[in-house]
Subunit: 417 residues, 4 copies
């Protein structure tokens, strides 16, 4: 009986599909304690867009630690935070003509979401929020209330209220006009819909099954929010930081959300960091009205700033992500077409890609077959029916080729049964 | 206009009292960018019990990063996590005869609390929770619901329900029997109190004003919970990891809570880490029912394990903390007695100490006067009326002497006005 | 200044549109204190299906009072209650092959709804309920939560939660399949919809704007509920007791709801009475778990029983209601066709009929014009845009002719402007 | 198998203790169908303060019905409503210098409470309400939330939130200062108590066990509310209309609640009627924001007005109630003193009187023994441990003597066992 079996709660999940003990990692690769290498198309569920232990960031991190740079500082001013804010301003906000203030809401994505919801409610004086089918926003009570997954919702142990789910893009396969029900309910004073403070949305749902909203749908949603004085919260925790190509997943849609949540890869190196970007006129907090211990992880500021300067000084990463994403998309489409009776569907945008199977069982078997062949990837979607890949954006073309080969083999191995 | 003024939300608070830009830190000292040194009696609000950039932990951390140890791993098995679990088991749980399983609930203390509340509700099928006056448990919606501060509660923007506050120890200065109202409500089937799933309590309230519950009160609470089949959640986020002397703040009371929340100093180096310890029979989670991106920050496992092995192999730290705590207590009592008309009250246990003033204004002025003299400390309590010190447990006797001298001067400077 | 102005709260509404003081009433007529007669096409908002002071019921009532029959008896057994239960069983339940138990939930329709919702939640262990756009179920907190009107919801002063509105029949003018969104959300475990205990529905929405659900829609809803183990609560408070022809408004659809709410005309004479009919296997209440003072108004039992025996012994009333309803429908259609540019729409079924105008202002003017001409009727719908008539089912053909004439004139007078 | 067994829900309760079928009633007596007479010390749970079928009211009622006075009129102006408002103004409000506006909230006491809570929340913009241990305010969701009984609360099927119970007077037998905990929580900004919109209180708890608050406690509560800008809602549904002597139960305390709820005996004859009296400046409702079908039961207005004119023109009833109440109190004290080991406690004020037994079982046996001897009374209190009598205020001295004799015998019969 290992110490894991003895001590770790049954709530653990990833270790069930990948029952080895990992030790080292570098770039697109992670190694178990026996030295076996795995190509990582999971990448910390989107937290490792720049790969494991990225050498540029690693050097900055070791330098900072070595020189005794402040590690923990809550919301005190620090040199490292200043450096991060400047990089964010110069590399990200200014070039995109985005005028946001930055909230440091706590260490993880759920904190960014909690802060966004609190602020939206405080500003508007309304309690209700609109979320979307198959949304995922986190596990703390506020974030969980706007999350779709019924098993995770059930974990709350109290009724989750104040949120009403609306159909995400293509929920009915395009058979009906966008926002049909949503806007009708808003306009009908007898609809029974509590007037919403905000809409919270992902531009591409990762956990929900790699559902990529069309850009015109996002634009339509943004316009609907403006028409009805509803704040638009864009949860870019998983799909931001270049995952779909541009830094923000919503850039191509040409919209400017009122509030944006970032976490996961914003820290660059896999260290916890989250920020909530807010329209300046929404900045009505009292000092300390939202606080928390881990809002100033300076080593994460260091790697975050370094990542912004290294990867977002030009459009090289964006272009490469799109190009690689196209390769994955083409490969998945080809796989889907090779099994015309299996009902496979290629999904996604940029390097957030999925292949939908007829069942969660099949998708799970493909992931298991890939793991046997040295590749990490997980399933997503309400029934786990989507094989999901989120490789590091920095993977090489050869690594991508190798990964796609393994995936092809794994699918074959499963569907051939 | 600095980048902080331009970009950071008005919600920031510590930077208001300490308007300098910090750069480096070592042990009990933190330095601003102009090289000025500050003796840190704030210590990351309890996240830096082993001091800033503790050299033993720093070496382990740099070694781990240098050898490309896995940084980010969700709840996968890793060598670093195994090492942490083993250290926790051998240095903490076994010697104290504590039989807990470990949940990794997310990166911060609020996550530990959210997981505890979810689990208590799931296990019992009840929704209601009892909290205490002036409790602080965090800023996410579940944790905020059981937090006392009305300004912070107001930030939620929705009614915070499912919690009923009971008087903390000494709330009426001992004039009435403990748990008088609480137990009466429980026993009276007509009381209107929703039957509680759990009680959540701090054994010493830090944010609430350095209120140290008596050990017999804690025992009484534990027995009351057992009598009424209520789960006891001990939030040791700030007061655990040796802050009051023993590793767990509740050890001296001889109680065994059903669920224990740890964070802040458990990571050792100020990196985000949180754990929720649960009675093994409560481990009824479904795999993945509670999850999150930052549940496996391996650099924090490394420093956490190293801290446990370094400081909890014997009772040296516990003894030294108690001894230093006594010195602080004696010094504060002396200050209080020097100003017999000022109504000062010395409070606390171990190295969680406070000096209560007649008003928040006075306490704030003392902290400001201390800052001018090169010492960081903050206020707490519902009106900020308690000057609160949480120095690193590892501070030297000379540093303690110096700190107490500065505090003495600061009090004099303010009360002499 | 009248005593009404001086003492009665501003919440009063009907007296604003009909600013006279009523005194006597008989059959289809109500008289003000100056002796002016008004033809009553409002009929107590559906509480007076058998007309004002129906002579048969009046005689039974006076006899009962005169002989000192018990008036007030909570849920004690009484001769009058027995008589009512027997009449209900023999005249209503048995002939329709309906197997229900009877809850006396309190004096009004909202009580019937509150009891229905409580029981559905108790039986299923779920909290959430599905309601429909433009539903009206009452003003107490439970009933208000499932009511659509935003002004009335706003009166609650707390967020109304636990209910999610779905589109009522023809909400999109038949452009989309029935229950499209509803069933998709139920089947998708990631939809974020809390699993519902029950659906609550009116088969024809009176307050919502005389929206008559198609029978196949009702059947579809009933089947959907059965497929998903959701209890179907049919609120027949306004549309039951023959308003649409048959005793229950859902009879023609051939469905058997799990729970049925009746009030308004069930008492026969306008005295408060309400009942909740429940499937026998749902009768899991503890004795006294739901109670209340006015659950046994015996004079109302007397008139209720007499009404059942007088009007539901054969199908004469049902046929006459349908025939008269057809006349109203034809007249309204003719009016609508006379003003092809005005966008009028004739609505309804049985003797619950409406004429929709382009605005609430117009519909209100028509009602005012009718009042001037001696006819009472009110508007309904989210913007008050529907002129609504609910005449006594017992009105004569001549009275109907006269009423329709007045309505024709009133419409002309308004639209001619 | 009777029709009751076959058709009536198991939720019925009174018929279990009194398993006979009642038929007629007059004054203090109710008769079963076999002609057996029962002296009624239950009196409709307080709805029959003027006795069954009071001949004065009966005549007015029959006259009104006979002349076809309007029966059902929602909130239209009627001659009968005007008459009631005038009687209320002249006989009740003016002589007591009370300046209230009248809301007709629906037919029963729960409606009066629901309207009070809604208005308090709307006016203050706060959601939370303070209730008291062992309070009873009704069974609809809003009223149930502020009711204490756990079995009845459990019937809701959803968590009842937004209310926090405080100890009612003498909850700790006077051992602690009044409002100790309540006011401390209000004054402490860190207490975690949501700021309350209102306090809802009964001046004597009937269902809660005949707990009579001391007048100074009521005054203290009223002053506390004023100090903290909390609205005081006095639920006089059961204890108003002279039950404790004066018309309002709070008169002797000299307080003026902001909102008063009346129902039960306000209608005089046992017909449903309820009113909510509100301070004029609180009358901020929109027209129709709170409505309902049975807000204008004109036969009840008729008997209500007649009762006010007949019984409240002078202080004869008040004096007689107090005198009779003293007799009951003396008799109960004597009984208690006769069984010094049984721990009996005489309770109450006016003609709301109780005798507390050591257990609910004993109190129930006494009520059963009294029923066998021809007297109706019920138990109350959280465990049904209080034998409760609420005889008609109009009972004769002989009837009172007879009733007390039966009670004495019943107690003897039970305690002698």
């Amino acid at each position: 009986m290992t110490i894991f079996d003895k001590l770790e709660s049954e709530v653990r999940s990833y270790s069930r599909g990948w029952p080895v003990v990992f030790d080292r990692a570098q770039g697109s690769w992670i190694y178990d304690e026996d030295g076996r290498a795995y190509l990582d198309f999971f990448a910390g569920a989107g937290a490792l867009n720049y790969g494991h232990n990225n050498p540029v960031l690693k050097q900055a991190l070791i330098d900072y630690i070595s020189r005794d740079g402040v590690t923990h500082a809550l919301d005190m001013f620090t040199v490292a935070k200043r450096d991060f804010l400047e990089a964010l301003d110069q590399k990200i906000l200014k070039p995109r003509d985005l005028d946001y203030k930055v909230v440091f809401p706590g260490p993880g994505g759920a904190n960014a979401v909690e802060a966004a919801l609190k602020l939206a409610r405080k500003v508007t004086g309304k309690e209700s929020v609109i979320n979307f089918t198959n949304a995922f926003h986190g596990m703390t009570l506020g974030a969980l209330s706007v999350t779709g997954n019924s098993m995770k919702r059930g974990g709350a142990g109290i009724p989750l209220v104040h949120a009403t789910p609306m159909p995400y893009d293509k929920y009915f396969d395009g058979a009906y006009p966008d926002f049909l029900y949503f806007e009708r309910l808003l306009e009908d004073s007898g609809s029974g819909l509590n007037e919403p403070a905000a809409v919270i949305v992902e531009s591409l749902q990762g956990e929900g099954g790699i559902n990529a909203a069309r850009l015109e749908w996002l634009r339509g949603l943004s316009e609907l929010c403006r028409r009805h004085d509803i704040l638009l919260i864009l949860d870019d925790v998983q799909m931001g930081c270049g995952r779909t190509g541009p830094f923000f997943s919503f850039e191509e849609a040409g919209i400017k959300p009122d509030i944006v949540c970032l976490s996961k890869s914003i820290g660059g190196y896999g260290l916890p960091l989250a920020i909530t970007l807010i329209r300046p006129d929404l900045d009505v907090w009292e000092p300390g009205e939202h606080n928390g211990t881990f809002r100033g992880i300076n080593p994460a500021f260091v790697t975050a700033a370094e990542a912004l300067r290294t990867y977002w000084n030009d459009d090289a990463l964006e272009k490469s992500t799109k190009a690689k994403g196209e390769r994955v998309g083409a490969a998945f489409t080809e796989i889907a077409e090779s099994y015309p009776d299996a009902g496979l569907v290629a999904k996604g945008r940029g390097l957030a890609r999925g292949l939908e199977f007829a069942s969660g069982e099949l998708a799970g078997q493909v992931c298991a077959a890939a793991f046997e062949r040295g590749l990490l990837m997980e399933t997503s979607g309400p029934d786990g029916e989507v094989m999901k890949v989120l490789p590091p954006l920095t993977l090489t073309d050869d690594e991508l080729t190798k990964g796609l080969d393994i995936i092809g083999e794994a699918v074959r191995a499963v569907l051939a049964k």
